[in-house]
Structure formats: structure tokens, C-alpha cells
Subunit: 247 residues, 2 copies
């Protein structure tokens, strides 16, 4: 039986993953092959706002599982990053644009995953699930398949447990548009997920993650009740780059 | 040129490592093969006292390099451990005894190392050095050679840099007695390092790390100006287990 802890930021991808595993769990229980969604784990790493975290908490409530919050915000002060620095301007535009590289926190996924594995071990989980996807590969080295595989191997040795706690990354070879399609199939309330890097009351529609989200929703052809401050910018940004659907 | 960041707890092993690299650096500079000790990195993970951290700061001052402190104490609240819990009694005796397993923080080395690599990347270091040693292997899975190797591989992928930031663990195949001997050769002031798990004003001489330290000093046959509350218990504890020198 897999007891799965989902690393959930409160964004579209990880909220969909949590719903996905909860759905599979229900399906499998009906078939008497028990699987358990043990809970969601969110990191407070010094985000500009709490909306993303609140969306993760809301997701756990919807799925009736515990939500765990681990504060690593002091690390953000030590690791240089436009993402966690409130002084730097957020780059606008498509993720593919060079200026988005400044949003990378050095070693972010490796840091969060090692903590997630330590936490999983503490609560008796047997699997950690993350929502890294194919669209992240070209800008974030710590979202690529070779990293995921090497990380899982490292963790086998680090905890020295048999069986090892496994790393489940089912979206590794699909893109955000495909994830949005899964969200549609599972009726995930995507307007209750948060993607925007800016700290406004509504999604700005212009930052890298907003553009990527709007592309994904368009690609999946699903209904999106999210309110965006700018609903047309994403299309211009996409024109300047490879649209996600064609990657 | 290697620019090395040493992960330094303030204990005997990592302080010796810092002195060791600083010494090699000086030697190599004389030979015009530049190597640089960039600084020391210490984690505040909710230790029972600050003495260990103060010893790391003192080491950096002696070696005239920057000292960096990263606070991960909130993680300690999330990850079960006798080491970071102020409510549990510290086990006495030799590291080999079963009761010492409760001092293992789940995934501790992997967590600290991923943060160290992120920090190294931020400051432009090309190497992270740690003082894990052969004596740690049998109780801590995340001190074993196969972990160190897998971790270094994972980091190559995680940061995606060429050349990769390397992991230097020169004490991996020697024991603490051998490290104490190196400390003796380099005239490291070992009474200015801290090993005791208890929060007293002086080393207790009875906890696992005190016993291990006293064994190591005895094995190396070096002068130790450290004051211990109990100077005989370590020998009884060693009799019950394999002495370090015979491992």
C-alpha cells in the first residue's frame, strides 16, 4: 500500500496532482487495492503573498486530508533569488524568455524534496509525489527526468530504509496543458488554485506563471473561472515564443 | 581553482576539516596552485545550546574567513528527533548502542547538504566540503560512501552547471581517531571545538559524542585541554562495544 504525501504549492499542477491521487485512491479502494493520500505538504519559502498557501490548505480540506506547512522562509534570505526578494521586479513574459532565469531559487527543488522526504519518514509515508512537468525542463534543471531519477536514488541511500520511500512524479513527461486537461476531467476547481508571482488580489495575467497558466487552460479547452487583470497579454507573449501546445 | 565552502558544526571533525583545507590552501598557494577556503557554513537546527555554533564562529575567525549561519530550527519542530527535542532524555553511552539511533534526525545530512549546495551556488563556491567519517557509517545511512556518491550525482543534475559544484568528503574512509590525529598534526585547538549533546557549561563526558570524542583523542594520543565532567565513563562505555581503534 502506498501512503502518499503530496508536495502541494497551491498552484494548478500540484492541486491537480493531489486530486488525481485522491481520485485513484478512491478508484482503487473500490477494487480493494488500498492506496492512501496521507496529506499535503506546503512550503512557506517567503512567497510574496499567502494566497498560494491558502489554496493548498483549501485543497486539503476539499480532499479531507491533513495539511502540513513547513516554514523555510529564513532560507530565502540566504539564497539569492528574484522569486523570494521583495525588492526586485518580477519579470513579465513567457517562461522561455531569458529574464525568467532570475526566478530560479538555487537548488530549490532539491532542498524542498529532501525536507519532504525527512517529513515523510517522520509521519510514516511511503511515497512523496511532486507535480514537476515537461514544460519546466528547459529552464529548471531540477525539474528534469535525470534529476528526478538521481534524487530518488540518493534518497534510497540517505534514509537506508527497505523498502525505500519512493518519489512519484507522474507529470514528468507531459506539459502544463495536459495537466489542465486532467484538472478538467477531475473537475478540479482551478479558480481555487493560485499561480501568479505578483501579490495582487487577482491573477495579473502578465507574469511568467500567469502566461503559462492561461496557455495551458487554452490548450486544454477547459472552463476557467479565475479572474485575471489582463486577459490578452498572454497571447502576445506566446506569439513571441513557442506556444506550449507545439512544444 | 577550487573555492571551498566547509559545512562546519563547530565539532572536532568539521573544525579539523576547515583547518585542513586552510592548511592545504596555504601550501598550494606557495606552489602557485591556488585553492581558496571561501568560508564556513553552520546550521542552527535547534541545538540544545549555542556552544557548538560559537565554536564554528571562532574557527572562522582563526582562519580569517567569513562565517555563515543558516537557521533551519523551524524544521526541527517538524522532523521528529531526540536530538532536537528538548523534552527527551539524551541517551548515554557508545554510538554503537541501539539507543543512539534516536539521535538521528530523518534525512538530516541530505537536507543540510542541499541547502549548502544552494548557498554555495549563491556565493560562487565550486566545492562543498563535509567531515563525515567512517565511524558514522554504521549508524547513519546518510554518512555512508554510497550516499555521498549518489548525492554528488544528484547535485550535478539539480544545479545543471558545468563544471558541477563538487562534494568533498576526505574523511569518508577514516575514523574519528584518525581525524583527531590530523587535528594534532595541524595544532587545531580541539578544546575550542564542541561535541557534547548536553547543554552544560562543560563537556559531560557521558553522552555518545563525548564518549566518541574521548576515544578518538585517546586513539590519536594527542593533548586535549578540554574539560570533561566525567573523564572515566567513556572507557567503561568503550569496553561494552568495539573500541574505535579496532573497528
Amino acid at each position: 500500500m502506498n501512503k502518499t504525501l503530496v508536495v502541494c504549492s497551491g498552484g494548478l499542477d500540484s492541486v491537480t496532482l493531489a486530486h488525481h491521487i485522491a481520485h485513484q485512491s478512491t478508484q482503487q479502494q473500490a477494487q480493494k487495492q488500498a492506496q492512501e493520500l496521507m496529506g499535503l505538504l506546503t512550503f512557506n519559502y517567503g512567497q510574496r503573498h499567502r494566497k498560494e498557501i491558502d489554496c493548498a490548505i483549501a485543497c486539503a480540506q476539499r480532499l479531507n486530508v491533513p495539511h502540513h506547512l513547513i516554514d523555510i522562509s529564513t532560507l530565502g534570505q540566504s539564497l539569492q533569488s528574484a522569486l523570494t526578494s521583495h525588492d526586485e521586479a518580477i519579470p513579465e513574459g513567457h517562461y522561455a524568455a531569458d529574464n525568467m532565469a532570475s526566478t530560479v531559487v538555487p537548488n530549490r527543488n532539491a532542498i524542498m524534496l529532501t525536507i519532504a522526504f525527512g517529513f515523510a519518514d517522520s509521519i510514516g509515508a511511503t511515497q512523496v509525489a511532486i507535480a514537476v512537468h515537461g514544460g519546466d525542463h528547459f529552464i529548471y534543471p531540477d525539474c528534469r527526468p535525470e534529476f528526478i531519477e538521481a534524487f530518488a536514488t540518493m534518497q534510497q541511500y540517505a534514509l537506508g530504509k527497505t523498502p525505500a520511500i519512493t518519489l512519484f512524479a507522474p507529470y514528468l513527461t507531459i506539459n502544463k496543458g495536459d495537466i489542465a486537461a486532467i484538472a478538467g476531467e477531475l473537475s478540479v476547481p482551478i479558480h481555487e488554485t493560485w499561480s501568479c508571482y505578483n501579490g495582487g488580489d487577482i491573477h495579473c495575467g502578465r507574469c511568467g506563471t500567469c502566461v503559462e497558466r492561461l496557455e495551458a487552460v487554452h490548450h486544454a479547452g477547459i472552463t476557467d473561472q479565475t479572474t485575471y487583470a489582463d486577459t490578452t497579454f498572454w497571447h502576445q507573449a506566446t506569439q513571441k515564443n513557442q506556444p506550449l501546445a507545439d512544444q
